[in-house]
Every structure is written in structure tokens, then in C-alpha cells.
């Protein structure tokens, strides 16, 4: 929102006890009084600032002295932009993709934290407002399994059709949506760039997406996790064992997935488990660590 700086200024004036009003705001930023009034209303209503007008000082102050402007606040529009960027970053698989994916993860939580990317350069995407709009509509349609009516233009000409969207995809610097027109088995991917108009209809469709989307899944290979075979005291009822995903279980033996060895080793040190059956290299590492600790402890008892 472009009035961010005005809001902040107004807030500062209040907090320094100067009792600002709309004329001051208007004068300071050379806007109309009406506009200034709207800014103040925005603060009071959308930002829920406890503004109260004190006639004696002809200005505003905070009823609740402890009120602080939310550090990061966003409009619906900004949230949508971030959501779109998160989607693009998530599908980025070229240079620095690890760093980029972490950014996507953060953006997904709609925070505006400064991301220390250091020397790596984040890729820049053009966020065309019309494409953002289509992205929005299509995402809604996918979520609600609603058909969309698309007016599309490509090298073959213009055409209009009703379509069942399944998934949004981003590859090679373009956005695609995967779906089908009639036959769920004949899926295609069409580009957002080629769309002239997209409209959600009230018709819904049924589609078992999981198996069929296989062909459209990212062609890029994904790093697989290590798997530890651990016998726990009790059979786990959920999919996770203290944050780690359980791939499979047979009675009390669970196959646990992990990516970071050191973190998992630490976890094994502090959690309850009965037996570590595999992999051998992990058992060896754990054993070496444990032996190292025991030896160090023995050293100190010897000294006392």
C-alpha cells in the first residue's frame, strides 16, 4: 500500500505526543485532506489502532499506550503477490535452487523477513498482474474442483473452451496449468501467457488426480531421504515420529525418513527408542559418538 510511509509518520507523531490531525498529514505529504482522512480511517479500522480524537489538542492519540503498529502488514493484493512468488520460487530448479526453495518456504508463511541470501542472487520474475489474476482464479478452481471457461490464444489461433484444471506448474520461466477438457486421461498443459480470459463456472468435476498427474510431475529428480529402521516402544498411530516422517511400519518396527544426518543423530540421542536396526553406517556413527562421550566421561571420573 502506498500510504505505508504516511501511516508510519502519523504513528510516530502520535507516539511523540504531538497530537497530529488530518490537516497536518495532508500538509506533510501534499495530499488532500480527504485522502488524509481516509488514511486515518484505515489505521483505525483495518489496522485496529486505538485512535481517539482529543478536542483540546485538536489531534489524535492512542487510547491504549501500549499499541504498536504491526511491523509487517499487507494488503490482500500483496498477499497474493507473495503467494504467486512463492509458487514460482518453489518450482525453480536451476542455480541456487536450495536457497531459492528456502525463500519459497518463508514466503509461504507470508512474512516479509529480510532473507539473508548473501552472495547468491535470487531470480527475478515478472509478475504480470493479469497472469496473477488468472493464477488466482485457477488456484481457486483447482481447490474447489470447478470447471473454468478459458478464452485462449496461441499460434493455432484463438479458441474458447471449458476446462478442468488440475495443477499449476512452473517450468522454464513460464506458468502452466495442467488439466483436461473431456477425457481425464488426456491431460495437457496450457500457458497462462496465452490466456486472454479465464472465468470460473459453477460446474464441478471429479478427478482422481494422484496417479494421473504422474506424467506432469516435475521431471527433475528429487533428492531421496535416508531411511532408518527403528524399533520403537509402541506402534505409532500418526504419520510422524516426533517430526520425522514414518515411511512404513510393521508392528513396532518403523522406517523413518531423514535428510540431515547430524540432526537425526542428535535426535536419536535424546529420544526414546528400543533398537536401531539399520542402516549400518548410521549405527556405526552413533556408536562412535556414544563411545567418544563415554570415554570423555571416564576421563573426568579418573581425575576425581
Amino acid at each position: 500500500m502506498s500510504n505505508l510511509h504516511r501511516i508510519h509518520w502519523f504513528d510516530e507523531q502520535i507516539r511523540s505526543g504531538r497530537f497530529p490531525n488530518s490537516s497536518w498529514l495532508a500538509r506533510e505529504f501534499e495530499i488532500s485532506r480527504r485522502q488524509a482522512q481516509r488514511d486515518i480511517e484505515y489505521m483505525a479500522i483495518s489496522l485496529r489502532a486505538p485512535l481517539v480524537y482529543i478536542a483540546k489538542y485538536r489531534g489524535y492519540c492512542y487510547e491504549d499506550q501500549t499499541y504498536r503498529l504491526p511491523h509487517l502488514y499487507m494488503t490482500e493484493e500483496e498477499q497474493r503477490v507473495l503467494k504467486y512468488l512463492a509458487h514460482r520460487y518453489r518450482h525453480y530448479n536451476y542455480d541456487q535452487s536450495d536457497a531459492v526453495k528456502r525463500v519459497a518456504h518463508l514466503l509461504e508463511r507470508f512474512t516479509l523477513e529480510e532473507q539473508q541470501t548473501g552472495s547468491s542472487q535470487l531470480p527475478v520474475f515478472r509478475a504480470d498482474p493479469q497472469q496473477l489474476q488468472f493464477f488466482e482464479i485457477l488456484s481457486h478452481a483447482i481447490a474447489e474442483s470447478r470447471k473454468v471457461h478459458i478464452h485462449y490464444r496461441d499460434h493455432a489461433g484463438e479458441r474458447q473452451f471449458t476446462w478442468c484444471p488440475l495443477k499449476m506448474l512452473s517450468q522454464f520461466n513460464a506458468d502452466y496449468v495442467v488439466g483436461y477438457e473431456m477425457d481425464p486421461l488426456q491431460q495437457t498443459a496450457i500457458r497462462l501467457e496465452g490466456m486472454i480470459h479465464v472465468q470460473m463456472t459453477n460446474e464441478t468435476f471429479q478427478c482422481q488426480t494422484d496417479g494421473l498427474l504422474g506424467a506432469w510431475e516435475e521431471a527433475l529428480p528429487v533428492r531421496k531421504p535416508f531411511v532408518a529402521e527403528i524399533k520403537l516402544k509402541e506402534v505409532q498411530q500418526t504419520e510422524l515420529w516426533q517430526g520425522y516422517r514414518i515411511r512404513e511400519q510393521k508392528d513396532k518396527v518403523h522406517w523413518i525418513e531423514f535428510y540431515d544426518t547430524d540432526a537425526f543423530l542428535q535426535h536419536l540421542f535424546i529420544s526414546e527408542w528400543e533398537e536401531l536396526l539399520s542402516p549400518t553406517w548410521l549405527r556405526r556413527k552413533l556408536q562412535q559418538s556414544a563411545e567418544g562421550i563415554i570415554e570423555r566421561l571416564a576421563r573426568s571420573t579418573r581425575q576425581t
Partner: protein
């Protein structure tokens, strides 16, 4: 099920990661007996210099298409090699990956280590079939890294590469040295090794690009230090390599003299870096000094390469004067 771990195969990072890996593997397999600088010189790796416009740290390994750059050096040692690599985004990657896993295991059974791009280059020195993993050394830590068969070749760079070695034929020392000088001349003359990408310059042009980056101030801090470290190490390797080889031709004596002078400059250049938190970084006000030193270094190397040219012109160069039907690059 089987577990194979090669004993006494230890890789340590001193030089370019490929040289370190190659040295570890060949020495362990008995295919090479000599120092790292000798290996770096014979394979031409020491002469390679590549610099990105913004001094990114990846410059140090961006000296060309790896397959081709390394092949010429290994050929010069007379060693049989099989290698594979490429981009992991290719749809066929999965097939080549599974294939590579099987021949890497076979070679490990035969008792020879495998060079692998982690990144940077490292050595696979063992596998465990029951856990489906490889043991990989990166030259830094004492503990080997664990790599799942399924993750072979996957890393953040998008490239994969692995190389194995076989038998050896004998190549007389003089031929080896002559060919290494010719590789050096090639590396000096060719400006871009990764076309169509013109952001990374090699050889003579690399000096210019480096100086420009320093003067403009727009460069990657850690990359600048890493490039400088690698450069100093490789130029010292060349110096020592020529010191051993200078008996063969008189011009080599003169080329060695150039590199001796360069050695003094390198001491100055090293002074432009300071250690902070166990890492080397560029000193803030030293960029002009470094740029100046690089200019002098470039002139010295130019002279040395001219001496190489004199030596090379004395003998026929069948490899380069007979261009095969498909051109100078290998048919790949």
C-alpha cells in the same frame, strides 16, 4: 550383502579439487607415482585459469567442458578412462545414473577409486550394498560423506560427473612434458571455454576480466578470495613443475625464470588477503594493489607461454594439425 571399502585411499584438498581427487585415486591404484604438482603440470590442470565476470566462486571449476578438459590431461598420462556426466535435468538422467552406479561399483570391486562431483570433485572409495550407499571423501572432513545410490549425481549445481580409470600405456617423459606445454598454450589462447556463455573467461582474457571486476568493485567477496587462493596455488605448481623439467629444453629454463618472478608477485598477492573466521577474504583496500600485480603477472605468463611456443614449434603436432572430420571437439 557386500561392503567394499578401499583402504589407504585418502584425498586431501590442496590444489584444484580435480587434481586432489585424481592424485588420490591414481596414487592408490599405482598408476602414478609423483607429487601433486607434477600431476597438475602433466595433465595441464595447473595452467588452467578461468574467471567469472563477477568473480563467483564457481569460476575455479569452470575451466571448460569437464569431460573434454580432463580427457586431454588423462590421455597425456597414457591412462585409460571412462567417464560420464551432464545435467541432471535431462529426462534420460535416471537411466545414466543407474548405469553409472553399477559401473562405479564394479570399479570399486576392482580396487580403484572413483572421481565424483559432489560438488566440488571428490573421491568415492567404497560402497555398501545392504544400505545402498557410497562412501565419498570431499578432502575436508575426516568422516566420509554418505551418498545413497538413488541420490547419485544429485546436487545443487545441476551437473553430475564421475570418472574411473583403467590400464596405462607408457609415455616417454619428454612427450608428456611437450604435450603439457601445448595444453598450456591452448589454455592461454582460448578466451571462452563455455560458449555461448561469455561471462566466464579463460587464459589470457581471464586476467583482464579479473582486473576489471576488482576495479569496478562489483564482485563476490568469497569468490574473489577463493579464485586468488586457487590461482596462487596453481602458479606455484607450475613453477615447481618447470623447475623439475627445465633440463629438457633451454627455453624451459627461461620460462621457469618468468614463473620464479611470478612467485615473488604471488607473495604480494597473498598479502591482499586476510583470514577471518577460518576463511580467507580480500582486504578492503587491496583491490587496486591486486589488480596492478595481476597486470604484471599477465605479462610474465605471456612471455613464458611464448617460450612454450618456441619449444612446440620445434616438433610436429599431429594431434592439432590433423583436424578430424567432426572438428576439434570430440564427437559427443
Amino acid at each position: 550383502m557386500t561392503e567394499v571399502v578401499l583402504e589407504n585411499l585418502i584425498m586431501k584438498r590442496d590444489s584444484k579439487s580435480y587434481v586432489d581427487s585424481l592424485h588420490a585415486v591414481l596414487t592408490h591404484a599405482g598408476l602414478f607415482q609423483g607429487s601433486k604438482y607434477l600431476l597438475a603440470g602433466c595433465t595441464g590442470m595447473a595452467f588452467k585459469l578461468s574467471v567469472h565476470r563477477r568473480l563467483l566462486p564457481m569460476s575455479v571449476t569452470a575451466y571448460g567442458q569437464w569431460g573434454e578438459s580432463h580427457r586431454l590431461g588423462i590421455d597425456n598420462l597414457g591412462i585409460f578412462t571412462i567417464w560420464d556426466g551432464g545435467r541432471t535435468r535431462h529426462p534420460t538422467f535416471g537411466y545414466y545414473q543407474r548405469d553409472a552406479v553399477s559401473w562405479v561399483k564394479r570399479i570399486l570391486d576392482a580396487g580403484i577409486g572413483v572421481i565424483y562431483w559432489i560438488p566440488e570433485f571428490g573421491v568415492i572409495h567404497g560402497y555398501d550394498d545392504s544400505d545402498r550407499i557410497f562412501y565419498v571423501q570431499d578432502g575436508w572432513g575426516r568422516e566420509p560423506q554418505i551418498l545413497l545410490y538413488d541420490n547419485f549425481g544429485l546436487n545443487f549445481t545441476g551437473f553430475w560427473y564421475c570418472q574411473v580409470f583403467g590400464d596405462q600405456v607408457y609415455i616417454p617423459e619428454q612427450e608428456m612434458v611437450l604435450e603439457s606445454l601445448r595444453l598450456a598454450i591452448e589454455d592461454w589462447d582460448i578466451p571462452y571455454r563455455l560458449l555461448p556463455d561469455r561471462n566466464i573467461a579463460s587464459g589470457r582474457l581471464a586476467y583482464d576480466v579479473w582486473g576489471q571486476a576488482l576495479r569496478s568493485g562489483d564482485y563476490d567477496q568469497s569468490g574473489a578470495a577463493y579464485i586468488l587462493e586457487s590461482y596462487c596455488q596453481s602458479r606455484i605448481e607450475i613453477q615447481m613443475y618447470l623447475q623439475d623439467a627445465r633440463g629438457i629444453w633451454t627455453e624451459l629454463e627461461q620460462a621457469y625464470a618468468c614463473y620464479e618472478q611470478l612467485g615473488a608477485l604471488i607473495l604480494q598477492m597473498k598479502g591482499c588477503m586476510i583470514q577471518e573466521n577460518n576463511r580467507w577474504i580480500m582486504q578492503a583496500d587491496a583491490t587496486e594493489k591486486l589488480a596492478q600485480a595481476l597486470l604484471e603477472a599477465k605479462a610474465l605468463e605471456e612471455r613464458a607461454v611464448d617460450f612454450f611456443r618456441l619449444i612446440s614449434s620445434k616438433y610436429p603436432d599431429r594431434k592439432r594439425n590433423t583436424v578430424p572430420r567432426w572438428g576439434a571437439h570430440s564427437a559427443r
